[in-house]
């Protein structure tokens, strides 16, 4: 009897948020699995980065391993290998920005001028396709085409009177091969967002421009491009955030003992040093450095875009 009275009093004095909490208990139940996922597979690894300040021994665990301060970071910055890897990574990133980034914009602008719906659909269906192929498939197809014994590209070179090129094993061909594969796989897919942004442009603007005597190219330059400017900037920020995220799989698949000097990037280095050579702490420190640089760059790019009067991504 007394207990029911007490509990009723508690109900009366419950703050509003608690009432909402109980009313929404099923909604909270729904997001629990998701939260558990993010905690275990995203946040615990973030805290796991403390091993880069330890000499982590698997059988001692995080709690039992010895603290060593910045030892691994000091090694990282004094290791000549690391500087080579960092410059390889930055070079590939620069090539991505220079050669890949503008292509989806240009393709979307070209495609926007296509008036035959069937042609447009057909083109999109074909160029989206490679995006769904794994890097293993993309690299495998390149491999059978580029190989020295019977690959179509080398056969063609011979027919044209050139000598065969060992694309897959020569260091100087690694970067061109890499960037062409990136363009082949992603250029078409990259157009989706730009096309949607272009579709949102007010048609009256084009009417007005035509009245003023603007031809096709001038309309593109003075209306379409300025209209999708903010989308371009958002995607540029996201791309810069990926600065060191060049795709482990792609590079790893192209990597071999002949092109290692130009092809080893931070991700593949983390894999080799960490999981092949069991230097957990050192390679966690390398990974930590990479994640930090990425985070700082996104924030910087975002800040700059806001200064330029754009919205940014947050």
């Amino acid at each position: 009897m007394e207990e029911t009275v007490i509990s009723r009093q508690v109900t009366k004095t419950q703050p509003a948020w608690r009432k909402r909490f109980w009313r929404n208990k099923l909604l909270y139940l729904m997001i629990v699995p998701g939260i558990i996922y993010f905690l275990i597979f995203k946040y615990i690894p973030m805290f796991g980065l403390v091993i880069s300040f330890q000499d982590y021994k698997p059988f001692k665990g995080i709690l039992g391993s010895e603290w060593v301060g910045f030892k691994h970071f000091e090694r990282l910055f004094t290791e000549p290998d690391f500087w080579n890897i960092l410059s390889n990574t930055l070079l590939l990133f620069g090539m991505n920005l220079l050669f890949y980034f503008p292509i989806p914009i240009i393709l979307a602008l070209m495609l926007n001028e296509v008036r035959i719906t069937f042609f447009k659909r057909f083109f999109q269906t074909l160029v989206y396709l490679p995006h769904f192929m794994s890097w293993v498939i993309i690299v495998s197809i390149s491999y059978v085409m580029l190989t020295m014994d019977g690959g179509i590209v080398n056969e063609l070179l011979v027919q044209l009177g050139f000598s065969k090129i060992n694309f897959l094993l020569s260091p100087e061909w690694f970067r061109p091969t890499y960037i062409i594969q990136v363009i082949w796989r992603e250029a078409g897919w990259g157009t989706i967002i730009y096309l949607a942004a272009i579709a949102a442009v007010d048609p009256q603007l084009y009417e007005a421009a035509r009245m003023d005597g603007a031809g096709r190219l001038r309309q593109v330059w003075h209306i379409t491009l300025p209209a999708i400017r903010s989308v371009i900037i958002v995607l540029l920020i996201l791309k810069i955030g990926d600065v060191l995220e060049l795709g482990f799989e792609h590079v790893y698949l192209l990597l071999n003992s002949m092109n290692r000097d130009v092809a080893e990037i931070i991700d593949t280095y983390v894999y080799t040093a960490g999981l092949r050579q069991m230097q957990f702490s050192y390679s966690a420190a390398v990974g930590f450095f990479k994640s930090l640089v990425g985070l700082v760059l996104v924030m910087l790019a975002n800040h700059l875009s806001k200064k330029m009067g754009e919205e940014g991504i947050y």
Partner: protein, 291 residues
Amino acid sequence: MVEDRTLSGRLFVAVNYTLLTIIALVTVLPFIHVVAGSFTTNAEIAAKKFVLIPTVWSLEAYKFIFSTDTIFRALSVSVGVTMIGTLLSMFVTSLMAYGLSRRDLDGRNVIMFLVVFTMLFSGGMIPTFLVVKELGLIDSYAALILPSAIGAFNMIILKNFFQNIPEGLEESAKIDGCNDFGILFRIVLPLSLPSIATISLFYAVTYWNTYLSAILYLNDSQMWPIQVLLRQIVVLASGMDYSSNLDSAVPPPDQSVKMAVIVVATLPILLVYPFLQKHFAKGAMLGSIKG
């Protein structure tokens, strides 16, 4: 829009269509070359170089790769992981997306921030590997699924889509005695089929293309999915790991055999792609600009 009839206008159109056609051809010809090459003999590939339509049809390459159960086993692993993974991912992703799509949920902004933050910063390969190891998932198929169960980006796209469904529909279902689960499964999901189809395809493709998780978490080559096997056969090409599963006297595989393995590893995507392709533009756009 009225077509531009001036000379420069026509020239522009002609150049534009020609260039786009060339780009489309360059994109798909390698695929056609590989598919055609897989259906012919090695002699024909050597003689004709660039095969688009084989003159000699042959299933030898396929007979060869299915002569042992190596490829077959890898295919079943990939099919199983893709089906179970996609179902699980869609289930937990829609639950979370729906919960977070409701504006009366306290704390949803904090949770959204925590989700977005994982897209900007991560623990990276080594700490994630240690977590998977501590959970005892090494050498289990769960290691191919659980660590990538929810894609933050996919979840946000779905959440934004759910948010656009008129609240009145949910209100009336509530008055009729539906609880939140009922609203999600009987009203919201059926209304969201295009996005569900798109996100399912994204997940299915990710699981089908699983490579990194497999080389990180599976030591046992008997458990390999098709992508890892494909790399062993085509990219390494030494035939070492491949022949250890076959006869050790087998020489490195022929071009047509490699092509057949590529086709087998690509086929499932080629099969579902046409059915889901029409949803992409709509589904992928949602929330991708304004995350």
